[in-house]
Structure formats: C-alpha cells, structure tokens
Symmetry: C2
Subunit: 309 residues, 2 copies
C-alpha cells in the first residue's frame, strides 16, 4: 500500500487478521446477567490536545471521550483505567492537574479511576479504558436501524468544530469550552435505553457524516437528513456562516453527542427520556441531505486519523 | 520535585489525588456473582521493545504482559483491548505481523482481541488492556500473606535478565526467547487459586525484589529468601556466573512468573496444582536472603520506569 490510509480502512484490515471485530463504540462481553462493555482510546499531545488546553482539561478529555463510548451502548460506567506516558517536561503541577482532570471527570459522571499504568514518553500519551455494565435487554448497538425510523441527535452539532475555528481565528466563543471540555451523554443515553424506543445508537465523535456512514454500513440502511433541522451549536452560524456551520456539523470531530434512530411510535417516550432533535429519517439506501425539496449526497467526510503505511 | 522519581513513588502521589487506588496487579470491580478484573499497560518502542524484537513478538508481548496481570489475580481472561499508536515507518508487513502477534497470544491463552483504537504516533506505542473474571471466593490479592506462610514461585527466575545480557553481549542463549516471548502463567494461577492454599500473589514482572517489597508493604509482613533454593533459569549461572545470576533473579525485569505465599498446610495441594518452588518463608518484617546461615537484606531494586518531574 502506498501512502497513508484512514483509520477505518486500517480497522477493516486488522479485523480480518484478528478473525473479526464487532463494529460498536465498545466491545461487548457476556458477564452473566448483564453485558460488560469496554472501550479504549489513545490520545496524544500532537493530535488530540489543542495548544490552549490546560493539563486539567487534557485529563478531563481523556476520560470524557471514553465515557462517551460507554454512553453510546446505553451502559452505566463501572470505572476507568488510565495509562499515562508522561513527557520529560511534565512537572509536578502538570501531573497533579492532569490526574485531577481524570478524577474530576470520572466523579462527575458517577464513576472513578480504578488504576492504570504510568510511563515516561517522548510525547504526552494517554490511553483511557472505560468499563461499564448494561442489562442485556437494554444494550444499544450500531445495528438495528430500519427504514422508516426517525434519525435523532442529542444536544447541538458543530460545537467542537466551531470552538476549533474560534481558537484558530482568535475569536471569543463559548464553543471553545465545548471543544476542550466535552460532556459525555451518559444520563441521556441511559434514559434513552430505558425508553425502549431506540433501534441503533453511536456517538458522533468523528462528525455526523462518519457516524451516519458507520450506522449505514452496520445496519444496512440509508439516511435522509433535513438540513434545516440540524441543531447547529449556539452562535455557530453567526461566527462562520450557514455553509461552514453545516460543514462543521457534518465533518468536524470533537462533538460527543448521541446519534440514534427511533421507531417512530417511540418518539414521545424518547422525548420524555431526554432533549433530542429529530434531524431526519432512515431510508433504504444512500446518505442524503435535503433542503427546500432538493437532495444532495452527504460525503463520507469526517475526522479520521491518517496512518502511514 | 527535582529530578526523576520512580514509578512507585509517582503512583503513591497519584493515588492521593484520586482518593486512593488499590494496590494489586488488576483493578477489581464487583460484577455480581464474580469479580471483573482489569489491567492496562502501556509499552513503547524505546523502553519496552529490544531492537532484536520482530513485530510479531511486539504484539505477543503487549498481550502477554497484560494477561500476566489477569493470571496474578487467579482470574480467567475475558478479552484484551489494544490501542496502537503506529509510527510513520510502520509498513503493511509490520502491521500485519504486529496484529498477528496480538491475536496469536490471545488465542493461545484461550481469549481474544475484543477491539481497540488505532492512531498514528511518533513512536510505536501499544496500550493493552486485559479483562478477566474470577469467582469471588477464589480471587488472589497482594494482601493476605502471614508470617509462617511459605514463599513460592512458578518456573524459573532471571530468564529475561539473562536473555537481555545474552543479546547485549552477542551470546547465543535460549533465554533470549524468554525475554522476547514471555509466557503468562494463566493455567498455573487458576489451578493455584482453586487449590485454596494461596494467601497472596502477584507477578514478578519488575523482578523478585520489587515483588517482595510490594507484597511486604500490602500484607504488612517480611520475607526470608533461601538463596540456594532460587530456581535460576537454565544456563544462566554458566553464562553470567552465580552472583550475576542471583542479581538478575532479584532485580531484572521481564520475567512473568507468579510469586505467591502458601499456608504451609497447603503445600501438597499447591504442588498438585502446578510446578512450583518453595524459595523462602514469610516472616514478621524485613526482606532477607539467607545462605549458609548468613542473612543479608535484599535491597528494593528492580525495574522501575523513571519519570521526569
């Protein structure tokens, strides 16, 4: 292979070597009456931590992104493991703040840091692993969406992309905080799982377009997104204009909302579970966006690590 | 703080920030009828993979060291997650071999790679996270050793240290394979757990001296080691001499044997469980080695990452 390949293509290759991998936000293990779900994410300075991030925020983010994967399965968190490779320049203040960030994020979401590993490293590298449990009848997966279901999201879209833009362009914006301190949707996810209305779910951490592509592949369906229904992050359109705001909602990584499908009869129950926005519907095939009666295809663009091969 | 501090001191500091961490090879989580145990280890090119290692062996090692932590709790493995940060020079062959190493090691020990994360990284960095389950009445911890118990080990000691020496000195030795392809003692650990004779256990991955120090601290006891009973790795004394061989057994990292204590009435049952060597006894305090009636203190030396602060 020449040149870099995307993370998703690499994962397909690896899956063949390993005899098949499930395609969900977490691995799923039978734990008797419940499923154990587990997810691991490696973050490092250069790619994942914008220069403006303070060490507490780095710690927060490392835990938050892992808890978001637990949320996406409808699970309750049972703890987080942290492996931290600390660079030579990490001083006492840095380490104290970093580990306080880990602990504070875990505590806010009702869980804790169980342990881990520390190491010295050229570049700050943090691998968080989150564990959770979910009742077997409540687990939510990426597969299960059916044509006719409603497509929904929690919260707003494009906040992290807008935050990155604001920071890079020297603009003041509350979206910068959204970028630096993401909030995993654990409470919303549990309530949605208990509502019994959700047919498929994942988080949109790599952008809505890639999430729809992943859901589409696993569920064997397509999506139609109503452009005017996208809940763009507050202040985003005013800052970057309508077109860029839509692009950020679709393709910028760093939002940690839940993207999910509902059987249409379940909309009321889901609305009682949490605030949500219906942004489209599940169709037979293709991934489309519609505005004023016109449809265009949504390209499979989003945040992917490029890996040299 | 000035200068580097050792990993164990850093962990004490972190433990305070996080409100206390258990001091076992794995984190322990209540999973209903059983305990879930989980461990994470970050390995990277510079520190953990000798230059002679091939990519398959890197994969093998990343899984093996994590499974050794599952073994040390008396647990059955339930799966391994891998986060792999791949450097730009990693080509198709390298990646295929690396992931085959992950999968082959997991399969040999009756488990599998559940999933994970891939990323690009300046330096090859692999964080493995192993999960396991153990019946509540069978779990083995570092605490529990009592004065009068027997001190034992599986297998032989100093193999990895000898392998490193052989490689660095251009000597031919089968110990190089022990260094590069460690074998976690899962089968032995399960059988020992079921024997009901073990009072405390951990692996000796950082050398026997540090293991004894850790067990001593957690159990509130001391140890007396009989120097002549140490099962030095085959060929080690011939290669490096008696004194160096003892030093390697005590202080070189990279062995993955089980170090454990037995109630003395349980020796027969433990011997039926697996091959073991009684290397000493649990005493009230201090960590000592005895030879020909003379005792000397064992220094708390072993493999510790030094982390810049």
């Amino acid at each position: 292979m020449n040149g870099a390949i995307g993370e998703r293509d690499l994962i397909r290759r690896i899956s063949v070597i390993l005899g098949g991998l499930e395609n969900d936000d977490c691995a799923v293990i039978d734990a008797g009456e419940r499923y154990l779900v587990a997810s691991t994410d490696m973050l490092h300075q250069k790619t994942d931590f914008p220069d403006i991030m303070n060490p507490w925020q780095m710690g927060w983010m490392a835990v938050a992104v892992n808890l978001s994967d637990i949320a996406a399965m409808g699970a309750e968190p049972a703890g987080v493991l942290i492996a931290a490779g600390l660079p030579p320049e990490a001083d006492q203040y840095f380490i104290d703040e970093l580990f306080s960030g880990f602990g504070d994020c875990a505590a806010l979401y009702g869980t804790r840091i169980l342990g881990g590993d520390t190491d010295s490293h050229l570049e700050l590298t943090i691998t968080g692993t989150s564990l959770g449990f979910v009742e077997k009848e409540l687990i939510l997966r990426r597969r299960g969406a059916r044509a006719g279901d409603l497509l929904c999201t929690t919260g707003s879209l494009g906040a992290a992309g807008g935050g990155l833009w604001a920071w890079q362009n020297g603009a003041k914006s509350e979206l910068i905080t959204s970028l630096l301190e993401p909030e995993p949707r654990l409470k919303e996810a549990r309530a949605l799982a208990k509502s019994g209305s959700v047919t498929a779910m994942m988080d949109n951490s790599d952008g809505l377009a890639l999430s729809l592509s992943d859901l589409s592949e696993v569920s064997g369906v397509g999506f139609l997104v109503y452009q005017d229904k996208l809940p763009l992050a507050p202040g985003l359109v005013e800052m970057v204009g309508q077109e860029n705001a839509i692009d950020m909602a679709l393709s910028a990584g760093g939002d940690y909302e839940l993207v999910f499908t509902l059987r249409s009869s379940g909309l009321e129950a889901a609305r009682r579970a949490c605030d949500l926005t219906v942004i489209g519907e599940v169709v037979e095939e293709g991934i489309w966006m519609e505005r004023a009666g016109k449809r265009r295809q949504i390209e499979r663009l989003g945040y992917e690590h490029r890996i040299g091969l």
